[in-house]
C-alpha cells in the first residue's frame, strides 16, 4: 500500500509527473515516427506505422476504459487510485495524438471517422472533468460562503414568507408582483429554480423595480415596509442565485462523468465495428 503521504498528492504531478513524462514521451515518439515514416501510399491506418499506431491506440483505449472498473475496486495491495487517475489522464491525452496520427488526417463520412470523433469527444469530456475538478470545488466553496444547501433553502423559504407577509400591506398590484417573485405557484417545476427562471428572473426584477418606483414617490400612499421589502427581495435574489450556482457546479462536477462514460461505451462499440470492418476482407 502506498505511503499515507502520497494518497492526497495532486493527480497532475503524481510522483514528479511520471505519467505526464511517459505520455509526452509516447506522443513525441509516435509523432517523430509519423514524420519520419515514408510509406508507399499516403499515410493512413493501413500502413505499417498505421497498424502499429492502431495496436498502441487500441491498447490505450482498453486500458483507459479499464480505469472505469478499477476505480470501483477498493482494498489494500493495489496501486493508489491517484496513480491510476494520473496515468488515465495523461495517457488519455497521448491517445489523442496516437489516434490522430493513426488516421493519417484522413476523415470521411463513415463509421471509422465516427469512432475517431467519439474518441475526441471522450477525451474532451475527460479534459472538462479535469477542469471541473480543478476549478469548481473552490468556486463552489466561495459561492456558498460557509453556508450549505439546507441553510440556503431554509433562508430562501423564510424570506419568501417574510416578503409575502410584508407585501400584504401593499396594494393588489404590489402583492401580485411580490407573490410571483417569491416563487409561489412554481411547485413541481424544479427546473425553474435551477435556471433562475420564474423565481429569479424577470418576476423578481419586476417586483423590485415596482417597489423602487413606490420609493421614488410615484404612488400617493406608501406603506413604511417598502424599504425592508426591497431589501428582503434583494437578499432572496442573491441567495437564489447562489443556490443556482451551487447547483450548477455540482451538476457539472458529476454530469461530465456520465457523458464521459456514455461516450466511452459508444466509442468501444464504434471501435469494435471499425476493427471488424477494416478486417472485413483480410
Amino acid at each position: 500500500m502506498a505511503p499515507q503521504n502520497e494518497i492526497h498528492r495532486p493527480v497532475l504531478v503524481y510522483r514528479g509527473g511520471r505519467w505526464a513524462g511517459a505520455a509526452l514521451l509516447l506522443a513525441t515518439a509516435v509523432l517523430a515516427l509519423y514524420l519520419l515514416d515514408q510509406p508507399d501510399e499516403p499515410a493512413n491506418g493501413g500502413t505499417t506505422l498505421g497498424y502499429a499506431l492502431a495496436v498502441i491506440g487500441l491498447g490505450l483505449v482498453f486500458w483507459l476504459a479499464w480505469y472505469g472498473v478499477r476505480r470501483r475496486q477498493y482494498g489494500p495491495g493495489r496501486k493508489p487510485l491517484e496513480a491510476w487517475l494520473s496515468a488515465h489522464l495523461y495517457l488519455g491525452l497521448a491517445l489523442l495524438v496516437v489516434a490522430t496520427l493513426h488516421t493519417g488526417f484522413r476523415w470521411h463520412w463513415n463509421i471509422h471517422s465516427f469512432a475517431f470523433v467519439l474518441m475526441v469527444l471522450v477525451v474532451l469530456s475527460g479534459l472538462f472533468g479535469l477542469y471541473a475538478y480543478l476549478r469548481y470545488p473552490a468556486r463552489a466553496a466561495v459561492n456558498l460562503d460557509g453556508a450549505d444547501r439546507r441553510k440556503l433553502a431554509a433562508e430562501i423559504a423564510a424570506l419568501d414568507l417574510d416578503c409575502r407577509d410584508k407585501a400584504l400591506s401593499f396594494d393588489d398590484r404590489t402583492l401580485a408582483l411580490v407573490t410571483a417573485a417569491t416563487g409561489q405557484g412554481s411547485t413541481g417545476a424544479g427546473w425553474r429554480l435551477r435556471r433562475g427562471g420564474a423565481v429569479l428572473g424577470s418576476a423578481t426584477e419586476a417586483a423590485i423595480d415596482h417597489l423602487r418606483g413606490l420609493l421614488r414617490g410615484e404612488a400617493a400612499l406608501v406603506p413604511d415596509a417598502v424599504l425592508p421589502l426591497v431589501l428582503a427581495l434583494t437578499r432572496r435574489a442573491t441567495l437564489v442565485e447562489r443556490a443556482r450556482r451551487d447547483f450548477r457546479y455540482r451538476l457539472l462536477l458529476t454530469a461530465w462523468r456520465s457523458v464521459h462514460l456514455v461516450l466511452s461505451l459508444g466509442l468501444l462499440a464504434a471501435l469494435t465495428i471499425h476493427v471488424i470492418v477494416v478486417f472485413y476482407d483480410r
Binding site: R106, L152, I156, F170, R250, G266
Partner: protein
Amino acid sequence: MTILIRFRPRRGMSIDPKQDRRFAGAEIRVGRAPDNDLVLRDAALRFHHAVLVQQDAGVVVRVLGGAAISLAVAGDSVRVGGYSLALDAPAADGPVLVFEPDEDARDDAAVLAARYLAWLELPRLSARRWALWLVLAILAFGFVLPLAAMLLPAGRGLLATAPAALRPSILWEVGTMSGPHAGFGTDCTACHETPFVPVRSGACLACHAGTGQHADPHRVPGLDLAATRCEACHHEHKGTAQAIRQDQGFCVSCHGDIKAQLPGSALADVTDFGRSHPDFAPSIVTDAAAGTVTRIRLGTPGPWPDRSNLSFTHAHHLDPAGIKGPDGPRVLQCADCHRPAAGGAQMQPVRMERDCLSCHALQFEPRHPEWRLPHGQPQEVASRVLGFYSSAVLAGESFGPNQDSLFARPGDAPAPAELPQAAARGEAAAALASSVARATCGECHATAPPAPGADPLAWTVLPVSVPDSFLKLARFDHAKHTSTPCQSCHAAQTSNGGPAALLPGIATCRQCHAGTAGDAQKIASPCVSCHVYHRPELPVGEAAK
C-alpha cells in the same frame, strides 16, 4: 344596524379567531387595506375586496367590481377571496356572518424549504441506460444495418434506394476508391463477394482479363502471379490514384541486384532512375526479312548493325538552308512527316505516299517526268519500266549508248538483239541497273540485282522493317512532352545515322527526371513512370486464385 362577524379558526391568522366582532354602520368594508372596517391580512383578499350590507335578518355581500350576493336565510353562503361566508342564525341585535377560511393552501417555511432543497438535488442521470441506447444505436446503424443491406437479397434492393449517407459503401468504406473503380464502388459485393473472405483475384480478373505475368513463371517460378493474390500488391481504398503501386522499393528489391537474384539474367542491376540506371538499349533491326532485332546499348561504339533496309538522313532533310523541293527549296519541319498517333503517346508511322511522295515523285526518266513508278509494288516496277521503254522504242525514241543499234544500216537484217522488243528490254534493264534500282528506288531502299543468268529485269527491293517502338521495355508518352521542342531530345538536325541514332540517351531524360531518391528540382520518377509490371505477352490466365 349591526353585523356580528364570527371567525372559524385557522392556523396563522393574524386576527384572534375566537373573538367575535360587531360592526355597526351602513356598510362594512372588507379587505387588506388599513382603511377597511374589517382588515384581513390575507393574500387571498384584495386591498379593498368587498362590502357587507345588512338586509333584514340577512346580509348582502357586494364584491367590489363584481356581483352582489344576498344571504337571506341561515345556511346561505358565498365564497369571497379565500373565505367561505355563511349566514348563521341571527343574534338579538342583528345577523351573524361566519368567516370560514379555506383549507390553508399557503406554504409554511419548513415545507417551502424542503421543496427548495428537493429542487437543488441533482437529477439522477441514468448514464448506463443512455450508454446502452447509444451502443445499441451504433451497433444497429453501424453494423447490423449495413451488413444486412449488403448480404440479404432484399437488402441489396434497399441499398440502391437508401439515402447515400446510410449505404454500407459510405458507412464502411475505409478510404476513397481509386478513380477507375469508383464507378461501381457503391456495390461492395462487386469485389467483396463473401464477408470476411479476402477478395479473390478472380474478381479482379473478371475485368482485367489480359493481365500479364511479370516474368516467365517457368524461369522464375517464385514470381508466378497465378499463385498470388492481386491484393498482395494492389491496395484499394487508398485514394483516387493509389491502386497502382508507385513504390520503387518493390521493384528494387529484385532489380537492385537482379544478377544475383536471377543468375544468367541479361538485365542490368537498377536501383534508381536518377542514380543507377543503365543507358537505354534500343532494339535495332538486324534482319529485316526475319524481323529480328538486337538491343544495343546507347554508347556502344559503332558501327551498329542497322538492317532496316532503309537509308535516310535527318540532317540532310532538316537542312536549315532548305532542301530541294518540287517548287524550289523548302525548309522541312519535324511535323511535316511525323504526326502523333491517336492518343498522342506515339507517332504514326511515316507513310511514303503521304510524307515523301511530294518530293520523291519516283520519276525515272528525266525527259519524261510524267512517268512515275508505283510505290509499294516492286513487281510492277519492272513491267512499268519495260512498258515505258517499249513504247519509246516503238516511237523511235532513243536514250542510252546502245541507241546506234536502233538505226542499223538499211538492208541489214536486224540482229536478234536489235529487234524492237529486245531493244526495249535492253533499255529497261539498263535503266533499272543504272538509275531506277540505284537511284529512284535505291535512294531510300536497299535493292538487290538479279542473280547471274536470271532475268536482268528481276531486281528486288529488300524487305523493310522499322519497329513500332525502339525502347520496347519502356513506355514513352510524347503527348506528355509536347511543351518541349522535338529537337531538344532528338538531335535530328545533325543526325546522319539511322533512326536509332536519333534516340536520346538517359542523360537527356535526366535533365528533367530524377528517381525517387532524387533531386528536389527534378520530377520524381519511380520505375512505373516508364515501365509496366504486367507484361501483356505473358498472360496470367485463368489459373489465378
